[in-house]
Symmetry: C3
Subunit: 333 residues, 3 copies
């Protein structure tokens, strides 16, 4: 492995996730912590690998690429989707998985062990570690102490880079390109880390944004400023109906009732963020509706049979992207 280690300094340094170094060509031995590590070239590289993974799965079910390799899935909070996807990805590459997903029962933690100690123990058994942890910065901290590659499977309100990568990959696969697209993002744009990470990656391409959210859930200023720094055109509205006919991608997230102090306010606006077949009649013929899932009502089930509904294909792409990342950091992509 080629990682630069900082094992000698410990303590409570909790660096911010976006301190992770830019990725080298090929990613071998490197950590995947933040979307900020990715250049456009890195993305193209991983998309090409993910396409090869799809072909392998469709033709053979699995490969022996990572035979003999072990992945530790260290989930401090449950996430069926992410953990299942990584387990399937490792399995379809011929590798094996140590699943550690015991939530509150997580034993060493309940005994008070520090995250660095847990990581250094697991890397003595495994070749690569995926960590999901409720605290922002935890994945970077894990990476700081590990000799083996760390993949961030979501660190609280921090990042969830593999989600952003699979979102990008889905846009590319569905529409054949990313440059030139108009991307609508709908729902909770304030707290949704998924939206923030995806928006930042999209800024590496020539896109336009149309943001749709209730006033109290507008995109935070820091993300908005990052986007503007890239010279990307942005519009903001309150109602998805206003932008539905303009977008090539409609990325939907949930507007949670809990975010509203005044529930009457929620009741007033909620219907403006629900995707229905009626709304879809106004959308372009060639466009995609995406969602990170799980959904709870924000996309009508009746939209599922619409060929533009890409969210289940998006899930499947998650497996290919994770296969590509695992193979890459283990030097086999």
């Amino acid at each position: 492995m080629t990682k630069n280690q900082t094992n000698s300094t410990l303590g409570n340094s909790k660096k911010k996730a976006n301190n992770a170094p830019k990725l080298d060509r090929g990613f071998a031995g490197q950590d995947i912590i933040s979307v900020s590590q990715f250049s456009r070239e890195n993305l193209e590289h991983i998309f090409a690998a993910a396409e090869r993974m799809r072909t392998t799965v469709k033709e053979q079910g699995a490969a022996d690429t990572l035979k003999g390799s072990v992945l530790a899935c260290l989930f401090y909070e449950p996430s069926t989707r992410t953990s299942s996807s990584f387990i399937a990805a490792m399995s379809r590459l011929g590798g094996t998985v140590i699943p550690i997903t015991q939530g509150v029962q997580f034993s060493s933690v309940s005994k008070g062990e520090s995250l660095p100690d847990t990581i250094r123990t697991l890397e003595s058994y495994a070749d690569v570690i995926v960590i999901r942890h409720p605290e922002m910065g935890s994945a970077q901290m894990a990476a700081d102490y590990a000799r083996k590659p760390i993949i961030n499977g979501g660190d609280g309100i921090g990042e969830h880079p593999t989600q952003a990568l699979l979102d990008m990959f889905t846009i590319k696969e569905e529409l054949g390109r990313i440059d030139g697209l108009t991307v609508g993002m709908v729902g909770d744009l304030r707290y949704g880390r998924t939206v923030h990470s995806l928006a930042r990656l999209l800024c590496l391409y020539d896109v336009q944004f149309k943001f749709v959210s209730p006033e109290i859930l507008r995109l935070p200023l820091d993300v908005m400023n990052d986007i503007r720094d890239h010279g990307v055109a942005v519009t903001e509205t309150y109602d998805v109906a206003e932008i539905i006919s303009d977008v090539d991608v409609l990325y939907v997230t949930r507007v949670q009732k809990e975010r509203f102090a005044d529930l009457s306010q929620y009741e007033e606006v909620k219907d403006q963020y629900v995707i229905t077949p009626e709304l879809m009649e106004h959308a372009k013929e060639k466009m995609v509706v995406m969602h990170p899932l799980p959904r709870v009502g924000e996309i009508s089930y009746h939209v599922d049979s619409d060929p533009r509904a890409a969210y289940f294909r998006q899930m499947e792409n998650g497996m290919y992207i994770r296969m590509a990342l695992l193979a890459a950091v283990l030097g086999r992509a």
Copy 2:
């Protein structure tokens, strides 16, 4: 896969499990939801496959039949026996497993995701899904939305078809035939889905039944009528001692204290449903005692060393039957 899908209609249709279609020859791409899907020919087919599986395991430990295939084990309630058996079955066929068995912590569910969405996500990672769920009809609902084969691992008071199949297979293996046998069923015949499913499958053969239960736990009328429709001879008694010398198969289930409003009533009858070495002295020399396990006192530990005690062999048969089913629905049996 050859499944007919009904993805376009959603909502709360919750069809009853026995709406599942009859199985084609070979089962490839089909769902295993209910014993009602099985003809006598289907049973012979799966028993023959299970016997081949036994030979493979005894001679080689495992095969590569399902190399490259992934099973998702989606358990909404824990069941060590069923999940362990499926994991072993898939492993011994060279496939891999995504275990999702986190009970109440089950994350997407706690986020309010619908069963169809969870299923459609998992089938984007896996090739086949085993589902166990506390609600009757859930397995059929999963099958309605899935493109990949669904196997019912128990749906509440509904069905548990792989249990019934392993029970049938055990009778066949232990006694060499099913036709002509007298089958005693003992204990909780009212609530025991295991007993109901097994009784229905046995009606495909030329058998006689002897049912033994407390009055309040007698076989429900609908199951009894189904049996009579097949022209199968039935007797009912309160005491296992009355039938012990007549039966070729004694299928024992637990009489739970909780079923009795009046505990003195329970105390009065409970000993009539416990299998002891003394009782076994009156049984045929060639017969079998079976139990779906776990047991809590209804079969004395002292019976375990009796060669007629088949319940641990029955467990082992569960693995072979599940191997046969997995290979069959994936088109490799």
Copy 3:
């Protein structure tokens, strides 16, 4: 398998762990329950196998030695370290694992099933079982009823033999020998089963002991007498500073605040059991600091970069020892 079974006698016999029979050459088909089963020759045998396992992992990642074999990991209490290590060990030998680690949700147990029944069910699916259970004697009880090999993964205040073996192996690997060493053991010597088991194994060699603990956490009389029966030289002190310059091995365990009725007493002594860089200045140049982990402050993080800090290498050795044991009991070492 060559095990002598006692399946015919059941009941509540709960034999003590050290009733386990001495190991034959090779261990095939035998149970690993207690360190008392091991002779010096057995240890050399397993250390040689573990060294071969290390070579395999370093050179190839994994082997096919146990292809087709299935391990059931039956954990009645969570232990990330032990279960992860066994899962990695089995995976790196080409075998597969049934993980059963659901803590309080453990279903058959919550249904009241006895340990022997659970074991006999699991051995119908698996080829070898690792059991961790909070009650002393449970691993031996499991072995009494199993036809397949049982490995004790820790039985409450009883034993944790694979921990003791990996500790011994680490000393051998780090220092090249065990004969002639002076071993310091620090911390909670009263309740620490790890310390007791290791001390007993060390008595098979020509060693000296230096025990360091608070008065109330001194080594129990029975362990001390066993050591003295072997004619091993022993000293006891209250302060690690007194022995740091003498020892070749410093085995550190935690002094838990909860052991002290009078907290002021704890405050008074606690610093005498913390390993710091300052303390390490007085240690030999060639010696090792070990710890079973997890640690909570008893070894300063600043010691981690000291080349004599062996605790993370010790973890890795745990995987090699467990690989060696699994291969051995399955007749493939």
